[in-house]
């Protein structure tokens, strides 16, 4: 059992309170407007309970359980990505090797081998995939296939494994620990999604990228960014080694890059002419639909923190 440091424990309790508030609000809404259909809202909130419940369970269990959890998340995300993008039948065996990169990458995380963690996928897997493809010998569509395969591991394994590495970093904020870093990153990223959505609903007028996401507006983006920057600043000394001012910087990074991650995955889906990447999480869609912002925020937040404090 991992002893959850005090501040992180408070943060976890606060998240559970937010979920209780969401469920209560939904029940009141339903009672007030019995004729309206709240199925999707109910599914969304229920799924949030599951996701938060699972995450907190592994956080409480142990450091290695949490790392394994994120490894499994990478597996689900990679599988979903490879299932929606075009792959060649000839590359089945290459795809198998691509999956094997997950346990190896997360082994570097567990063992705290930073140098290997940071180059394994961008260098070794990058060079390995085309070599394995050459051994199969199918040259038709080679460039596209190699590009897709490497992009898929970068997005779903390399990027997401940065969340797990936060637990391996030496603890600098004793009241929060590595768990505090994970809670901070995940909470701020999801909070950013929610804030941009709410600001957009309230004030949204000027579209940012109508071709990719017709619902995204400048008002939503800037309103969300402001809220998240302020929130991140005030929360940073509580959960991370970052100071108040550094926290504002982290908030800017999370706000901007979270938005970019969201629209990058949206572009992928639009290209493939699908709305959701799967239907594993009721009310949300697939795993990729949920971790899209995290793909961008995790490595960027990690390296910001690493540069300033490690």
């Amino acid at each position: 059992m991992l002893d959850i440091p005090q501040n992180s424990l408070y943060a976890m309790i606060a998240v559970v309170c937010i979920l209780f508030a969401a469920t209560t609000t939904r029940i009141i809404l339903r009672a007030k407007n019995p004729e309206k259909d709240y199925t999707e809202l109910r599914q969304r909130i229920q799924s949030w309970w599951w996701m938060v419940g699972l995450l907190f369970l592994v956080l409480i269990l142990s450091k290695n359980a949490t790392i394994a959890f994120f490894g499994f998340l990478s597996f689900l995300a990679l599988k979903e990505f490879l299932s929606i993008v075009p792959t060649r039948q000839a590359d089945r065996r290459v795809v198998f090797w691509v999956y094997l990169s997950i346990p190896i990458q997360y082994y570097w995380v567990v063992s705290g081998w930073y140098g290997m963690f940071i180059i394994f996928i961008p260098v070794y897997i990058f060079l390995f995939i085309p070599m394995r493809m050459v051994l199969i010998g199918e040259t038709k569509g080679f460039i596209k296939a190699a590009g897709i395969l490497h992009w898929s591991v970068m997005l779903t394994v390399f990027s997401l494994s940065h969340i797990a590495y936060l637990l391996t970093l030496p603890e600098k904020n004793m009241q929060a620990g590595g768990v505090g870093l994970i809670l901070y990153l995940l909470f701020m990223t999801q909070f950013n999604d929610v804030c941009q959505y709410i600001w957009g609903k309230m004030l949204g007028k000027h579209k940012i990228i109508p071709k990719v996401s017709p619902n995204k507006t400048w008002e939503g983006f800037l309103g969300g960014l402001l809220t998240v920057t302020l929130g991140s600043g005030f929360l940073a000394p509580f959960l991370t080694p970052l100071s108040l001012a550094e926290g504002f910087g982290a908030g800017l990074i999370i706000g901007i890059s979270g938005f970019i991650g969201d629209v990058v995955i949206s572009s992928v889906k639009r290209d493939l002419q699908i709305k959701d990447s799967g239907n594993l999480i009721p009310g949300h869609g697939g795993i990729l639909d949920r971790v899209d912002s995290l793909i961008y925020t995790s490595p960027l937040f990690f390296h910001y923190l690493y540069y300033l404090h490690y």
């Binding site: 979903e80 299932s83 075009p86 060649r88 039948q89 569509g141 596209k144 296939a145 959701d276 799967g278």
Partner: protein, 216 residues
Amino acid sequence: MMMPRILKILFFGLIIKPIVLIVLGLNVCNRDKLPAEGPAVIAANHNSHLDTMVLMSLYPLSIIHKVRPVAAADYFLSNRMLAWFSLNVIGIIPLDRAGVINRDRLFEGCNEALCKGDILIVFPEGSRGEPEKLGAPKKGIYYLLKERNDVSITPVLMHGLGRALPRGEALLVPFNCDVIVGDKLPIASNPDELVQYLSSTYEYLLQYCLTHNTLE
């Protein structure tokens, strides 16, 4: 019949369901349209041995013994081990594809199962065919249900399993796959009509697939 039922529950509960749900992963569309009780027939397209396993794992363990795939006798009864496993653990209804015996005898096993209220899984295309390609449905399914107007056909389109485990491959590679359940087919008055219904339904259901993009 208790022993095979326990074997079937163990096999699906401990091996097949975890593989199908975790290693593979399903995008199920319109699950509520699956027949909940028999007699009923599910007509699915066929690309992989996993097709049967995926369809069966959509059912809860409590009624999984009622779900019976109709399978080729020449393949699944070809050796003693496979025959024992197919008949007792999976619970297949063997069908003689060679066509030497007459039609009434041919569907004897199927009719018996339908009378018991089982849910039959039928692959109207016959064999598995090319990965991820829809083959032409054959007419056999019409003759199977000719005398049974009380039994409806639920079409199911699966996509992506031909990537995970195509014909002739032993290595299973994880891919999500789509399972799209269609509306019950109307009653056809002749075999060509039924084949037409099936083909057009599969084509129509294809638009709900998330995994339909290919590089070839």
